[in-house]
Structures are given as structure tokens and as C-alpha cells.
């Protein structure tokens, strides 16, 4: 939490507050009563129990009053929820697809990306779906979540209200790397957004190899700045000496084209020392031979040293 960054966050947080405060009054009151009775009527102080008759009025009271209170909680939660389900017509439509274990966001002009870039203070609605199993599109700072169901389109909308970068999680368990299915929502000014939207991969300044890796979510596990994520950083990879574990035995070699190709197509055959198997999947049927040439060129000539 606790910073809310969408048009819904404020009112949702007040529902939280409403339910929590009333409940805390009950929790604290009842707990104090319980402890106080235990002390006050302990057998030492109060050797003979007083038998008390059932009291119909009391029972009706503590049925009806809580009922009214919870109905008010329901109603408050319901009224705040209603607008969340009322998709505005003038909102920009983004098609979001979840797949094991990454995201694609498609914009009205056909641009696709794995991070979500949005203009601040503009409504946006989503068509959500999944390419394989159920995922759930969750942006904690915006207080929004909706499942992505294969074979079905679900919806969501909101207005981002703060320019910043926010975490986007998959909240429905979807298999091995569920917990790595993370991306970002980057909220920018409308002008920056228009600029970004007009940019296609072709006129980006970035090296095509880098773009391929970005689009395949490689960079969610590999950093370019030397920091360790799920996998080793790509910084200074090419031509560096590597300690590997092959079939349980430690081996040394220098990271050249062949090694990097093997590391991408069959990652578990040669493990970088200090990393477990089954983290990186094989990209054999994902990265084509042409793409591989670009990636290798990137590593060899352009990657940060």
C-alpha cells in the first residue's frame, strides 16, 4: 500500500477505514470484556457463579444492531464498487493479455509492449484475456484487480492520478514462475505518452537485440547494470570467464557465441554457478535464429561492459 494512485483508491481506502474502525471498536471492546471478566470473576474473587436467565431483549439487540451495521458496510462497499464496473465510453482501450509468465499490452494504434505505459489523469479501460491458464491483473497502488480468463474477455477501468512507476502483479497462481510474472505501470504526462505511443520498435534508438530481449521478458530476470535479479546480470557477459555446473561438476569457460546460444536454448544443461535449474525456461521455439544473431551482436558489441 499505502499510497493510492488511481481515481478509485481514495474511496476504496475509506471503505477499508470504515469497516476497520467499526470492527476495531467491537474487537477491542469484546476483548477487554473477556479479559476483565476473567480477572474480575476469577474463582478466587468470585467463588460462586451467579446464574443469569436468558434475556430476549438483549439477544434481539445484539442481532439487529450488528445486522444494521454490516448492511451499512455492504452498502458502502457496493456503492464504491459500482463505478468500477461502469466502463466509460470515452476511455482509451488497451488489450491486455496474460501468458505464462508475462504480459502484453496492445494499444489502439496496434503498438504492443510488455510494460504498461499510460497518460496521467486519462481514463483507460482494459479488455483482459489470457493465452493459456487463468492469470489476474493486479496493480496494488491502483486498488484494481481482475482475472484474465482464457477464452473470455473481462474488463476493468481506472484513471491513474500520479506520475510514477508502479508494480503490476499476477495474482492468480499460474504455475512455476507465477511469482516472476511482474511488470510495471509507468504513468507519464499525456505529451510523453503520445510521443511514446508514436514510437515503434523500428525507430527506437535501442539495439534490435535489446528490443527482442525486452519483448521476451528476459530483462525481468537479467539486469543490465550488474545487479542480481533472478538470473545473473548481462553486464560484461561477453568474453567473461564463467563458472558453470554441468551434470553436477564445476567447469570453466569463456562466454562466447556458442555458450550464450546454449544458455538461451537449453539453460538447464549448463547452469551458472550459484543459480538453480528450472528458473529460466528454454527459448528454443521462441527466439528464432535471426533474433539470435541480433542478440549475440548486442552482447558482443553493445551491451554495457
Amino acid at each position: 500500500m499505502f499510497k493510492g494512485a488511481s481515481n478509485f483508491a481514495g474511496s476504496i481506502d475509506s471503505v477499508f477505514l470504515y469497516i476497520t474502525v467499526i470492527s476495531l471498536v467491537f474487537l477491542i471492546g469484546l476483548t477487554i470484556a473477556m479479559v476483565w471478566f476473567t480477572i474480575k470473576y476469577s474463582r478466587k474473587r468470585h467463588p460462586k457463579a451467579v446464574q443469569i436467565k436468558d434475556n430476549m431483549k438483549l439477544e434481539v439487540a445484539w442481532t439487529v444492531i450488528p445486522l444494521i451495521i454490516v448492511l451499512s458496510m455492504f452498502y458502502y462497499g457496493y456503492t464504491v464498487f459500482l463505478p468500477m464496473r461502469d466502463m466509460p465510453d470515452d476511455a482509451m482501450l488497451v488489450k491486455a493479455t496474460g501468458r505464462m509468465w508475462d504480459w502484453t499490452f496492445e494499444y489502439p494504434n496496434g503498438k504492443k509492449d510488455r510494460v504498461l505505459v499510460l497518460p496521467v489523469d486519462k481514463p483507460v479501460k482494459f479488455d483482459l484475456t489470457s493465452a493459456d491458464v487463468i492469470h489476474s491483473f493486479y496493480i496494488p497502488a491502483f486498488r484494481v484487480k481482475e482475472d484474465m480468463v482464457p477464452g473470455k474477455i473481462t474488463n476493468m477501468w481506472f484513471i491513474p492520478t500520479i506520475k510514477d512507476t508502479f508494480d503490476v502483479f499476477c495474482a492468480e497462481y499460474c504455475g512455476q514462475r507465477h511469482s516472476f510474472m511482474i511488470t510495471h505501470a509507468i504513468i507519464v504526462s499525456p505529451e510523453e505518452f503520445e510521443q511514446w505511443l508514436a514510437q515503434t520498435d523500428a525507430d527506437s534508438d535501442d539495439h534490435p537485440g535489446l528490443i527482442i530481449m525486452r519483448n521476451n521478458a528476459c530483462l525481468s530476470c537479467h539486469s543490465l547494470d550488474g545487479s542480481k535479479l533472478v538470473g545473473p546480470s548481462f553486464k560484461g557477459l561477453y568474453n567473461s570467464p564463467k563458472k558453470l555446473i554441468i551434470d553436477g561438476k564445476e567447469t570453466q569457460l569463456v562466454a562466447n557465441d556458442e555458450y550464450i546460444t546454449r544458455a538461451i536454448y537449453d539453460p538447464d544443461a549448463e547452469l551458472v554457478k550459484g543459480y538453480g535449474p528450472k528458473l529460466m525456461r528454454s527459448y528454443k521455439d521462441v527466439i528464432s535464429a535471426d533474433d539470435m544473431v541480433q542478440i549475440l551482436d548486442y552482447f558482443k558489441n553493445h551491451a554495457p561492459r
Binding site: F2, T20, A33, E59, T63, Y138, T154, A171, Q176
Partner: protein, 524 residues
């Protein structure tokens, strides 16, 4: 005289083939305690992995298998049978003045079905293509696609369902047919009442999960297209079918827990239960309305907006009978003469934790707030407060309450109280930080997490270590109780029928069938 109780004659064969409800109860107790400790240790290993961000002791796939088997063991082998199979079997007949349940042999069969189901569940971890990794919820289509040993795990749950159905059936008929002369419905103690409400859920809801799990198996083998969208099926249908059972299953766990608590409070307060009828009616109301709230597990599933608010409304309504019970328990303490013994400590912490579980249930039941915390650690914390803080603590309360009756010995109370203190602190430290993590947006079933969630996870992992220590202290104290002081027939001054017979109970419970003339809690 001494050797006429149900514990004699000794000998394994006599135990394994006995149809005596008390012996069956004790066998369930042993099996369930073993599974509980295994499930608890598995949970501890998960907490070890989560103690720091990044990989600690296992890889992601192992972790996913681990939370799946932790869930399957805890839900299907521990908390669902839990109180009714152990204490229901042992005490239901005694508390209503009967010599046994109505179908003793069916009862033994239920036990063996449970054991077979448990064996299949264990086998699913080792046989075939790797431990199942779907979570205990088996959500389609992942459960259709995962190449792990899902079918066997599903089959285990299916078999276990039969054990539950048969036990429920047995209890319903027992309560209808075998109450002692003079014990009208409203003279029956409240633990049997809660078992009665529970038994109906067991009988009516369990077949639905059975069919649903078979549909998963059929779909995997025959590609029928119930749930798989590529075959024209609907994955959300699976969730409906699953929760139509699995939500009422929460009440299968918690109703008997409430029943136990309702027995313990009058005994240690020496007071008549306040609002006996209100408690009975709320048990039945929970069983009834509890059937109609399953959709609150699916507020973000893509189900229609209409169903979302209807289920939310019903969810808030089902909170009321639970609240009524809490009010009645605390009112029963008022002007009592309270003895703070070990079972009562567990009872007080039950009420406290149950209230927290209930309150956070309101947050989850409200549409606006559920969207944010659904499928996060908030939910994990919430249901552990209900299932462990509620049902688990009621189980501990029950074992400390009835131990002298069941085994004729007293455990060391000083040590038992210490164990309670450690268990309670460990529990709080383990689960409370999860509420905060959930509010911060930490999704559940994550092998790894972003650095900003580290603090809560560290606290929680420390709590797990404390809790496990406390549990071992508790189990050790109970086991050591074998050689404790000989227990009198009525160590706590209870009023229900089990305290009128010797400890441990004689083989046929009552030398002479009692005749009931007044309510169960008539303290004078």
C-alpha cells in the same frame, strides 16, 4: 475394576478392528495429529524459503509443490475431519447418552476410507510425474495442463470425501435415533448440536466436490470440455463447483470448533450457557446460509456483476450468527466463577483470533475492498486466523479439556500453559504481519517477492519458528501425560454426561442408560 475401560485389552489388532467409537476416535486423533505435524513442518519449510527475497533452500517448482501438499494435507486430512472425526466420534455418543454411534461398522469403514485416501494423497507426492503443483484449489485450466501428478491428488480428495459423507450420515442418524430417554432436542448439549449442523453439510455438499474432481480427471483423460476453453468449456464453472463445496467446508471445520468452545466455557465459568437457543439457531443458520455465499471467493473472477453484489450481501448476513455466538460466549462469562485452566486459555485465544478472522472476513466480503486484497497475503492471514486460530485452537482446547476423560491421566498443566503461551505468540507473529503484507499488495502463492515486502516476511518466518517450537512443547506435554496423575471422573466440574462416567470411560459407556430430566448446563 481398573481394566474394564475401553483402553483394555491392549493389542494392536484389537484396536485396528475395533468398532468402538472411542477407539476409532483415538485412532483418528493419532492419524490427524501426525498429519498436522507433517503439514506444519512443511509450512515451516515454506517460511524458511520465504525468510529472505530470492531463492533460499529450494527452487520455485519445489515451492509450488510444497504449498500444494501443505494445503491438501491441512484441508482434507486435518481440518475437515478434525474435530468431528476425533471428538465427535469419541464424545457424541457419550454426550447424548448412547452406547455407540448407530452404525459402528460403517464408522470403522469411514476410518479406513480416510486412511486409504490419506495413503493415496501421500503416494501422489512420490509416484508418477512429480508432486502436484496446482494448489489445493485445483483451478482449471491450470490443473488440466500441469504435467504433474494431479489426477492422483484429485482422486485422494475424492476418496476422502466418502469418509466425510459416511461420518456425517452416521452422526445424523445417531442424533435422531439414539438420544437418551428424556433428552429432547433442546436438552441436547451444544457440541452435539454443532455436529448435527455440520453433518448435514458433510452429507449434502461433499458429493459436489466429488463430482467436480472426477470431472477434472475425466477432462484430463478424455478431453471432454467441461472447463477447458479450447474445448468449449468454462473455467469459471470449475470455480463455482469447487466453492459450492469448499466454502461450506469452512463451516464443516468451524461449526464443531464453536461447539467445543460452547462446552468449555460453561464448565470453567460454572454457569449455564447464555442464550442456548440462540446458539442452536445460529449453528443451523450458519449451515443454511453458509451454502449460499461461495461466490465471495470469485469477486474478481470475471463472474457477472449481479452475482458479485448478491454474494457480497449474503456474505455479510452470514457474519451475524457467528457474531451472536461470540456475544453469547462472553455473556456466559459474566458473573461466572472462572477458573483459568489450560483449556480455557485456548478458548480465550480462540475467541480473540476468531474475532480477528471474522472482521477481516468483512473486509473480504465487501466488494470494493475485496478487489484489492483478494488473492493476496491478506486472504492467507484471514483464513489461517479462522482455520488455525479458530478450528486449530479449538482442537487444542478440546484435547486439553477431554484428555483426562479420554486417557484417565492428567498432563502437567504448568508445562501445558507454557506451551500455550509459545503457540499463541508464535501464531500471532506468524500470521498477523501477513495482513499488512496483503494490504501492501503482496500476492499469495509467491515463491519470491520484491524487496519492499521483506520486513513482514522476516517477522512471519520468525513467528513460524516460534509456533513450531510451541507445538512440539504441546505435543510433548500431552505425550508425557501418559504417566501423569490419575484423573478423577470429573476434574473440571463439568455437567454434561461424559463427566458422569469414569475416566477413561468403560467399554459400553454407561452401566445404566441415563434418563435426562433437565438441560445440559444446569449449574446451581
Amino acid at each position: 475394576m481398573q481394566n474394564t475401560n475401553y483402553l483394555y485389552p491392549k493389542g494392536l489388532k484389537g484396536w485396528l478392528t475395533s468398532t468402538d467409537h472411542k477407539r476409532i476416535g483415538v485412532m483418528y486423533l493419532i492419524a490427524i495429529m501426525v498429519f498436522f505435524l507433517v503439514g506444519g513442518i512443511l509450512g515451516g519449510i515454506m517460511k524458511l524459503e520465504l525468510a529472505q527475497p530470492g531463492q533460499q533452500v529450494m527452487d520455485a517448482q519445489t515451492y509450488n509443490g510444497l504449498f500444494t501438499v501443505h494445503g491438501i494435507i491441512m484441508i482434507f486430512l486435518v481440518v475437515i475431519p478434525g474435530l468431528s472425526a476425533v471428538f465427535g466420534n469419541f464424545f457424541l455418543p457419550i454426550m447424548i447418552g448412547a452406547k455407540d454411534v448407530v452404525f459402528p461398522r460403517l464408522n470403522l469403514l469411514s476410518f479406513y476410507i480416510y486412511i486409504v485416501g490419506a495413503c493415496i494423497a501421500v503416494l501422489s507426492q512420490f509416484a508418477g510425474s512429480g508432486p502436484p503443483d496446482t494448489g489445493w484449489t485445483f483451478y482449471a485450466p491450470y490443473s488440466l495442463e500441469s504435467d504433474t501428478n494431479v489426477v492422483m491428488a484429485v482422486f485422494a480428495a475424492f476418496v476422502l470425501g466418502f469418509s466425510s459423507i459416511l461420518t456425517g450420515l452416521n452422526f445424523i442418524v445417531t442424533i435422531h435415533r439414539l438420544r437418551a430417554p428424556g433428552m429432547g432436542w433442546f436438552k441436547m448439549p451444544l457440541f452435539p448440536w454443532s455436529l448435527y449442523a455440520t453433518a448435514w453439510i458433510q452429507v449434502l455438499a461433499t458429493p459436489i466436490i466429488g463430482i467436480t474432481l472426477l470431472m477434472i480427471a475425466a477432462e484430463r483423460f478424455l478431453n471432454i470440455g467441461f472447463f477447458d476453453p479450447t474445448l468449449g468449456g468454462d473455467p469459471i464453472l470449475f470455480q463455482h463447483l469447487f466453492w459450492i463445496y469448499s466454502h461450506p467446508a469452512v463451516y464443516i471445520m468451524i461449526l464443531p470448533a464453536m461447539g467445543v468452545i460452547t462446552e468449555i466455557i460453561p464448565t470453567f465459568c460454572q454457569r449455564k450457557v447464555f442464550g442456548y437457543q440462540a446458539i442452536v439457531i445460529s449453528s443451523l443458520a450458519i449451515a443454511g446460509v453458509g451454502y449460499l455465499v461461495w461466490g465471495h471467493h470469485m469477486f474478481t473472477s470475471g463472474m457477472s456483476d449481479l452475482s458479485r453484489w448478491v454474494f457480497s450481501l449474503l456474505t455479510f448476513i452470514v457474519a451475524i450468527p457467528s457474531a451472536i455466538k461470540v456475544f453469547n460466549w462472553i455473556a456466559t462469562m459474566y458473573k461466572g466463577s472462572i477458573e483459568l485452566r489450560t483449556p480455557f486459555l485456548y478458548t480465550l485465544s480462540f475467541i480473540f483470533q476468531f474475532m480477528i478472522g471474522g472482521i477481516t472476513g468483512l473486509i473480504l466480503g465487501s466488494l470494493a475492498t475485496d478487489v484489492h486484497v483478494h488473492d493476496t497475503y491478506f486472504v492467507v492471514a484471514h483464513f489461517h486466523y479462522i482455520v488455525f486460530g479458530g478450528m486449530g485452537f479449538a482442537f487444542f482446547a478440546a484435547i486439553h479439556y477431554w484428555y483426562p476423560k479420554m486417557f484417565g491421566r492428567m498432563y502437567n498443566e504448568r508445562r501445558a500453559n507454557w506451551a500455550w503461551g509459545v503457540v499463541f505468540s508464535g501464531f500471532t507473529l506468524l500470521y498477523f504481519p501477513m495482513f499488512i503484507l496483503g494490504l501492501q499488495g503482496m500476492p499469495r502463492r509467491y515463491f519470491d517477492y520484491l524487496p519492499e515486502y521483506t520486513f513482514g516476511h522476516v517477522l512471519s518466518s520468525i513467528g513460524a519458528a516460534v509456533l513450531l517450537t510451541g507445538l512440539f512443547m504441546m505435543v510433548h506435554t500431552l505425550l508425557a501425560g501418559r504417566n501423569g496423575k490419575v484423573a478423577p471422573a470429573n476434574p473440571w466440574g463439568g455437567k454434561t454426561l461424559e463427566w458422569t462416567i469414569s475416566s477413561p470411560p468403560p467399554l459400553e459407556n454407561f452401566v445404566e442408560v441415563p434418563t435426562i430430566t433437565e438441560g445440559p448446563y444446569e449449574y446451581k
